[in-house]
């Protein structure tokens, strides 16, 4: 410890910080400055984000988790397609998802630049082998959120309207059948959760595509009790419902029931992306689906624990596409679901192997940033369609920058990884050679050292083994 100087340290040396002695006065000064900065920062944050959204926070506190709250309070102007409203803590989380660690490799001199942006097509076809494949002008299937600030029915109806003006399709989602949703949607996808009352034959025939969801929503419904107390019309309606049995063994029957109900449309299965994804795909392929939807861990679901399960969407799509191509099943369309919030995300997933993506759970929050308590379907639909319009434009800009004219020309060669981790996981080239990173250099050196050590040990073991054999035979 150093001695005191001429003026001395008032109140003596209190502590040592590195090589410097710190007195109580200095500690107090530092503390005061730190406190002031903290207070100012808190005040700034409160003024900028919390106070304007306090009511929304109060409403949403019981419904959504912390990440969703951060998303909610960090809303961006809705007039343009933007992802910042869904990337709340940029300074703390450099990469929101694995997709953020992937970037596009732009066309410069070779390949040549794309032609007019107006001529770039975003259309896609799902279930190409079905008699009536689903042709979309935008490869995005809209799904309603599990959590919404207003009525979930209003959100579904608004999404149906948005899907029509965006040239996309809407997924019916869980819950009762909504005639208006079907009426608004130009393309309507019947989603059937196992355990729910089975869709009527009429519903299946009204659908443009049918999907059996094997996700966490699948659960057995409890039949209503005390039928005597129900009104006559409810009894008749209840008698009309036909619950479908559960269990993996019944899935083929369910798919064949859907096909019998409407043999023209694509029929598929939605699964959660797990570490044993390939095994699941092998099981699903036996039922000859027209498409498979793979839901990654970023998907918004109806349980607080849901985020703790599954693998990221990007990895799931990469693995699923590899598996499908290896088994010569490229006629099966692949749909990505989970954590998709921008045009860049959509194009990246399409480049990784998806034919279309599910999108939509975050829309009602962002749309409802001004009138949080009362959702207006018209306003939601209008602002949502603006978002999709901007998203389509951005997708065309990306394709033009990549020198492509059609979504079908996308492949993994247009991507590169910003991190070595993403490069390894997604099988795409990294932006920088592994040797340039300090940590990577250290790890490489460590690995080399271990390999040399292992080789040395193996040689020693090899030298020792004959003696042991000889002694055993002796």
């Amino acid at each position: 410890m150093h001695k005191l100087g001429k003026l001395g340290k008032p109140y003596g040396v209190l502590m040592q910080w590195g090589n410097a002695d710190v007195s109580l006065l200095e500690a107090l000064a530092v503390g005061a400055i730190t406190g002031l900065v903290t207070a100012l920062t808190t005040l700034l944050l409160a003024t900028r984000f919390l106070i304007p959204n306090m009511k929304r926070l109060a409403v949403s506190w019981s419904r959504i988790n912390l990440n969703d709250l951060l998303v909610t309070v960090h809303v961006a102007p809705w007039q343009t397609e933007s992802r910042t409203h869904l990337k709340p803590i940029n300074s703390l989380v450099p990469w929101r998802t694995l997709l953020d660690q992937v970037a596009f490799d732009p066309a410069t001199l070779h390949p040549k630049a794309a032609p007019q942006i107006q001529e770039i097509s975003l259309s896609t076809i799902i279930g190409s082998r079905a008699r009536r494949p689903l042709a979309l002008s935008l490869p995005a299937l809209l799904i309603a959120p599990y959590h919404s600030m207003g009525s979930p029915i209003d959100a579904k109806l608004a999404l149906a309207q948005i899907s029509s003006v965006a040239g996309s399709a809407v997924v019916s989602g869980p819950g009762p059948y909504l005639p208006a949703q079907r009426a608004y949607a130009e393309h309507w996808i019947l989603q059937w959760h196992l355990g729910q009352p089975g869709p009527s034959r009429e519903m299946i025939q009204l659908a443009d595509m049918a999907e059996v969801s094997l996700g966490q929503k699948s659960r057995k419904t409890t039949p209503a009790k005390n039928h005597k107390r129900l009104p006559l019309r409810v009894k008749r309606w209840s008698a009309h419902q036909r619950p479908i049995g559960l269990g993996a063994s019944s899935l083929p029957q369910l798919l064949s029931q859907l096909r019998r109900g409407n043999p023209d449309i694509p029929v598929g299965v939605k699964i959660l992306a797990s570490q044993h994804l390939e095994t699941d795909l092998a099981a699903v392929i036996q039922w000859a689906p027209d498409f498979i939807t793979v839901t990654g861990s970023e998907a918004q679901r109806n349980s607080d624990l849901s985020d703790q399960f599954g693998i990221p969407t990007a990895i799931a799509i990469k693995r699923a596409r590899d598996w499908i191509d290896q088994h010569a099943m490229s006629h099966i369309s692949l749909i990505a679901s989970g954590g998709i919030v921008s045009a860049a995300d959509i194009v990246k997933l399409l480049a990784l192997g998806a034919n279309a993506v599910n999108i939509g759970p975050h829309l009602p929050w962002a749309v409802n940033q001004e009138n949080e308590a009362s959702l207006d379907i018209g306003q939601m639909a209008l602002q949502g369609s603006r978002w999709f319009d901007a998203t389509a434009k951005n997708m065309r800009v990306i394709l033009q920058s990549l020198g492509l004219e059609d979504l079908g020309d996308l492949d993994r060669s247009v991507l590169y990884a910003r991190t070595n981790q993403a490069a390894g996981l997604l099988g795409i080239p990294a932006a920088q050679p592994p040797s340039q990173g300090r940590l990577a250099v250290q790890l490489t050196a460590l690995i080399d050292e271990y390999q040399r050590l292992i080789s040395s040990l193996q040689r020693q073991v090899t030298l020792l083994q004959p003696q042991a054999v000889d002694s055993r035979h002796a």
Binding site: Q118, E119, S137, L138, Q161, S164, V165, A166, G167, P176, Y177, P179, A180, R182, A183, Y184, E186, S200, E202, M203, Q205, L206, R236, W237, A239, H240, D376, I377, G378, A381, L382, S385, R386
Partner: protein
């Protein structure tokens, strides 16, 4: 008790429920109205929304469920899937089959977006509230070319009268209203407006005088007109024709093709083209207890609200006459239409020219527009059940 089922609760369905309520007591019949919406969108006002005022699209909703239930009629909100005329059942998507003794079908024609390759509602439209709202929002963005295109009417060649275009009235109204709005915004010199129709003249269903006025007005307002259009396909920036050069456009507004009704086709009660063949009373030619009113029937040309209301009146009065053993009156069709011209003016046409007559009353001016505005507001205030029904 006699079971009456009304399919559809828009112009025609609402008028049917009105006349049934007026002619029959609740002790004689039970009435069930089925529609997929509990509210009716008043479509004649949607042209205003598409002409730069999207908020109007959500201001013209009429609570038909409440209107029907107030009169003691049942209302079922569901998608109508199929009619079984032999079993006399209507099959719905999520409700048990609905039995009927007499059926009024007023579901209208489907919108045949997919009948032209590449065409879809994403190109812009005016015939539904969400399409008009979207169109009204899109025209506020900067652009330089706008095409308002009318789809074809895919009716049976044997139908008389025969029209080529689905309905050009809303397309022409939007063009005039947008012209006035762009001038007010001082944007008109930078935006070219083109109306494309498969018909040989604008206002195909109106008389010669009205057609001449419309053609003159289009020319005077520098709105381009393309007639006799045969569509081949549509991309998101151009319309391709079979017999002429493509027409590029930054924005489009479509009145979609009318291909008839899927419901009629699936039920096997159509004329082979998706329209229900009816006699002069609106009754089905094969199934006399089925009436078709409004756009879905073969004789509802042109497909405008006034014609649907006339048909509803004739059909219900025929049903009443049969019940009461009286002599019914047949449909005497005529066209009554007021179209917006912008600047507070309207074009009123009262004509039987389409049906072989020679009478045509035409008036252009503010009074015509006022008459239309009064009718619109009265229809909304009385929820479709006007004190004086045509």
């Amino acid at each position: 008790m006699h079971k009456v089922v009304i399919l559809g609760a828009r112009f025609a369905g609402s008028a049917v429920s009105y006349w049934i309520n007026k002619l029959f007591s609740q002790h004689e019949i039970t009435v069930t109205v089925v529609d997929q919406w509990t509210v009716m969108t008043y479509r004649p006002s949607l042209v205003m929304a598409a002409a730069g005022h999207p908020i109007i699209a959500d201001q013209w909703h009429i609570a038909m469920k409440r209107r029907c239930e107030k009169a003691g009629q049942h209302f079922v909100r569901d998608s109508i899937f199929r009619i079984d005329p032999q079993q006399q059942h209507v099959y719905l998507a999520s409700h048990p089959p609905l039995p009927y003794d007499t059926l009024f079908v007023a579901t209208g024609s489907d919108q045949g977006w997919r009948t032209i390759p590449g065409l879809g509602p994403e190109h812009g439209g005016v015939c539904e509230d969400y399409l008009a709202r979207e169109t009204g929002d899109r025209v506020q963005q900067p652009f330089h070319s706008l095409v308002i295109a009318i789809g074809p009417l895919l009716q049976s060649p044997a139908d008389r009268p025969h029209l080529v275009g689905s309905l050009d009235a809303p397309g022409l109204e939007v063009s005039f209203l947008l012209d006035a709005w762009f001038r007010k915004q001082r944007r008109r010199d930078h935006v070219s407006i083109t109306v494309v129709t498969p018909a040989p003249v604008p206002g195909e269903f109106l008389g010669p005088k009205s057609q001449e006025i419309l053609a003159t007005e289009l020319c005077k307002r520098k709105i381009n007109l393309v007639t006799d259009a045969h569509y081949e396909r549509v991309s998101h920036s151009a319309i391709y024709f079979t017999d002429r050069k493509p027409l590029s456009s930054e924005k489009m507004i479509w009145v979609p093709p009318y291909p008839g009704s899927r419901l009629a086709r699936i039920s096997g009660i159509d004329d082979g083209y998706g329209w229900i063949p009816v006699d002069q009373y609106g009754a089905h030619r094969t199934w006399p207890n089925i009436y078709a009113v409004g756009d879905i029937s073969t004789t509802a040309l042109p497909k405008i609200g006034h014609m649907a209301m006339l048909q509803a009146r004739t059909a219900v009065h025929h049903f009443y006459a049969v019940q009461q053993r009286k002599r019914p009156s047949p449909l005497r069709p005529y066209v009554l239409h007021v179209g917006w011209l912008g600047y507070g003016r309207g074009l009123l046409t009262l004509s039987d020219w389409l049906y072989g007559g020679s009478h045509e009353l035409v008036h252009v001016g503010i009074s015509s527009a006022l008459a239309k505005a009064c009718f619109n507001h009265a229809y909304k205030i009385f929820s479709g059940w006007l004190p004086l029904m045509p």
